[in-house]
C-alpha cells in the first residue's frame, strides 16, 4: 500500500487592532514597512517588496540598486477582504516560474479590529520536480514521519 504524503499548509492567524481597510493597506502597499529585510533573493540589499494592486499584478522585490527580482504574482485582489499571492520561490529562495504555491490572506472584521488569516498551501509542489522526492519520502529514514508530524501539528492549531 502506498500513501501519498502531502505537507499540511502553513496556517497563521493574528488579530490587529485596526480596520480591515487599514490592515489590507499595510499588508500590500505597506509591505516594505514590515517584511524582514533579511529575506531577499537578489545580491543587492533589499529596498522593499512590491505587490501591484490588481489581480494579475506582479509581486517582486525592489533592491537598493534599482534591480528587481520576481517573487510571484497577485492572483486575487479583493480589498479589503481577500488577497491571494502566488509564491514562486524554491526551497533555496530562488525564483522558479514553474513553481506555483499559493498564499491566501483573509481580513475578517471583528469587534475592535480585524482577524488576519494566512494560509500558504500547495507546498508539495516544491518537491514535485523530481521522482527522487518520492524515494526520499518513502525510503528508510525518509520524511513520512516528519511530514505526518508536521501535518498533525498543523491540524491541532
Amino acid at each position: 500500500m502506498s500513501t501519498q504524503i502531502r505537507p499540511a499548509p502553513v496556517r497563521k492567524s493574528i488579530f490587529v487592532n485596526a480596520s480591515p481597510d487599514h490592515a489590507f493597506d499595510i499588508f500590500t502597499a505597506g509591505i516594505g514597512r514590515w517584511w524582514p529585510k533579511s529575506h531577499k533573493i537578489g545580491p543587492a540589499d533589499l529596498d522593499r517588496p512590491v505587490i501591484e494592486p490588481r489581480s494579475g499584478g506582479r509581486w517582486y522585490e525592489l533592491d537598493v540598486d534599482g534591480s528587481q527580482c520576481e517573487i510571484g504574482t497577485v492572483a486575487v485582489w479583493e480589498p479589503p477582504a481577500r488577497l491571494v499571492l502566488i509564491w514562486q520561490l524554491t526551497p533555496e529562495f530562488t525564483y522558479d516560474p514553474g513553481l506555483v504555491t499559493e498564499v491566501e490572506v483573509l481580513f475578517t472584521p471583528e469587534a475592535n479590529g480585524t482577524r488576519v488569516d494566512l494560509e500558504h498551501r500547495d507546498l508539495e509542489r516544491m518537491g514535485d520536480k523530481a521522482d527522487a522526492m518520492r524515494e526520499t519520502v518513502s525510503g528508510p529514514g525518509g520524511w513520512p514521519g516528519l511530514l505526518q508530524l508536521f501535518a498533525d501539528t498543523a491540524d491541532k492549531h
Partner: protein
C-alpha cells in the same frame, strides 16, 4: 532517537537554526557560514553534521572545499522554515498596523 526526533531537535536548537538560516541565503562553505555567528568554526561543522544527518542539509565537493546547501528534497525543512518565516513576518506586520493606526488617530 528516531529520524523524526532527530530532524525536529536539529531545527529546535537556536544556533543550528541560525546555521540553517545562513544556508537559506545560498550554498556556501563552512568558513562563510561561521562568519558572523557567535560560535567557533568546529562548532559550526558539528551543527552541519547534525543537520546533514537529519536530512535537512546536503553537501558537495568543489575543489578542496566542501559546499553546504539546504537539501531541496527536504520538504519538511522547507515547511518548517516557512512556518517560522510567516510567524515572524505576521508579527512584524501586526505591530506595523497598530503603530500606524495610532498615528492616524
Amino acid at each position: 532517537m528516531t529520524n523524526v526526533d532527530r530532524a525536529f531537535s536539529a531545527l529546535h536548537d537556536p544556533t543550528r537554526r541560525a546555521v540553517f538560516e545562513r544556508l537559506r541565503e545560498g550554498p556556501r562553505p563552512v568558513g562563510e557560514i561561521a562568519r558572523g555567528l557567535p560560535v567557533t568554526r568546529p562548532a559550526v561543522s558539528q551543527h552541519l553534521k547534525v543537520l546533514r544527518e537529519a536530512g535537512l542539509v546536503s553537501d558537495r565537493s568543489e575543489g578542496t572545499k566542501r559546499i553546504y546547501h539546504i537539501d531541496p528534497k527536504g520538504l519538511g525543512a522547507m515547511r518548517a522554515w516557512l512556518d517560522q518565516f510567516w510567524e515572524s513576518a505576521l508579527r512584524a506586520f501586526a505591530s506595523e498596523v497598530e503603530r500606524s493606526a495610532k498615528e492616524d488617530r
